[in-house]
């Protein structure tokens, strides 16, 4: 499995504020200052890495069958609330921003700086998403060179997928080489890590399972 160093790039202030609970703050507000400081500090602490593995796959009546040889993986249910057609391969991935930012969040609380902790934690979440986006861009570029279209990424715990699917993801990414571990309660350590699956196919449709999703509960729909 390839191991990639992934820079999250510029982190969005708006997104950091949204994940920290929202709000509109004037540019001269003390909160805006804390946000900017958290982004600078957080960016320096992000150690983005990721890895992935690809298997042939195909649609079945009620899900997606993965051809992983001796790994003998259970079929994956369709993500979201609609069926995906034309799946020819599935790429399992995991990314992380490492432990450093989490430690700094803990330190902020110890130093009685809850506002700094709140925003720094949000920076970590935004950075993890950005790192995952970087990795899926790499996957998409490789797929495109082979003539495949790429779906948006789907993660256990989202997209109508049970968290139990984490077991499958970590089975195929066993010894993932970037130090992400899965606990018995399906928690990834470091916590700011994202795992999931991207589907490939020459006639893949829809590309974004979020788009037609009617789930009233999802706060992270990316359509």
């Amino acid at each position: 499995m390839p191991i990639l160093n992934l820079d999250p790039g510029k982190l969005s202030e708006t997104e950091v504020i949204r994940l920290a609970g929202g709000g509109v703050f004037p540019p001269d507000s003390p909160i805006q200052t804390v946000v900017k400081r958290a982004i600078t500090k957080g960016h320096a602490l992000v150690e983005g890495t990721g890895t992935y593995v690809k298997f042939p796959a195909e649609n079945t009546h009620d899900g997606i069958l993965i051809h992983a040889g001796a790994l003998n993986i259970d079929p994956l249910p369709f993500p979201g609330t609609t069926r995906i057609y034309g799946v020819e391969a599935a790429v399992f991935f995991v990314v992380t921003i490492g432990h450093a930012l989490e430690r700094e969040v803990d330190l902020c609380f110890l130093q009685r700086d809850p506002v700094g902790a709140l925003f720094l934690d949000a920076v970590g979440s935004v950075a993890a998403e950005a790192v995952a986006d970087r990795l899926t861009s790499v996957i998409a570029s490789e797929a495109e060179a082979l003539g495949f279209r790429t779906s948006s990424r789907c993660s256990p715990g989202y997209c109508n997928w049970s968290l139990e699917i984490q077991k499958t993801v970590f089975r195929v990414l066993d010894g993932n080489g970037i130090g992400v571990e899965l606990t018995d309660s399906m928690l990834m350590i470091p916590r700011k890590s994202i795992s999931g699956v991207v589907f490939l196919g020459k006639n893949l449709n829809p590309l974004n399972p979020c788009k037609n999703c009617k789930s009233p509960d999802c706060k992270d729909r990316r359509s």
């Binding site: 609970g21 709000g23 809850p114 506002v115 709140l118 309660s185 928690l187 916590r191």
Partner: protein, 215 residues
């Protein structure tokens, strides 16, 4: 006389709150009056602004931090004069779960709201919540879970409290992204809060205000 303190709380100006509290104490104003007529009304206003959508979580945390700064000055003076006890609440992220930012923020706002907070940390098994009720005399426990796989520990904790014969002595609050009022009802919790400020409001409703001013 208390408007400046009230405003400093609402604006989340911790240093200003601390300075004002020191000045007013030196001027002979009682800690109890500063709390009852400056700090607590300020936090109530912050709660109202949050509920009305004018304030967001970061504002509330800033104000909570300002409240804490004021309490640092007033607490030693209050303990000598306040005849009433502060409500004590134990907070923890349940066993198997390590997400604690929400729990920490709730703890900070609870402390700002006048509660005495016993922080049990993260990955807390049911028995430790029970021990907190039995040994530390907490009036409420607040459990947080961020994973659907760890939510059942909340139900197990309620069962363990029942088995220990302690359920009637303690209020149980639950929260966290996958948790809902429906789930709270299902497991026999006393209440669910969807965010940190609501958790403080809920705890006050269930236990009474953390610090009650002496009249």
């Amino acid at each position: 006389m208390f408007q400046d303190l009230f405003q400093a709380i609402v604006k989340g100006e911790a240093a200003q709150v601390k300075t004002l509290c020191k000045q007013k104490v030196a001027d002979g104003i009682s800690a109890n009056d500063l709390l009852a007529q400056g700090l607590l009304p300020g936090m109530e206003e912050v709660g109202r602004l949050f509920k009305d959508g004018e304030y967001f979580l970061p504002h509330v945390i800033m104000s909570g931090k300002a409240m804490e700064a004021g309490m640092e000055v007033l607490r030693p003076l209050l303990s000598a004069s306040d005849a009433r006890q502060r409500a004590r609440i134990a907070l923890g992220t349940v066993q198997g779960d390590l997400h604690d930012i929400g729990k920490n923020l709730v703890g900070m706002l609870m402390a700002g709201g006048g509660f005495e907070v016993v922080d049990l940390g993260r990955d807390v098994p049911p028995e430790r919540f029970v021990d907190a009720v039995r040994e530390q005399g907490v009036q409420a426990i607040g459990m947080s879970a961020l994973l659907t796989t760890t939510m059942p520990v909340m139900a197990k904790t309620v069962q363990t409290l029942n088995q220990a014969g302690l359920r009637g002595r303690v209020k149980v609050l639950v929260g966290g992204a996958p948790v809902s009022q429906r789930y709270a009802d299902e497991i026999g919790a006393d209440g669910f809060a969807s965010d940190a400020p609501s958790a403080v409001e809920l705890a006050k409703r269930l236990c009474g205000t953390g610090i009650l001013p002496v009249s």
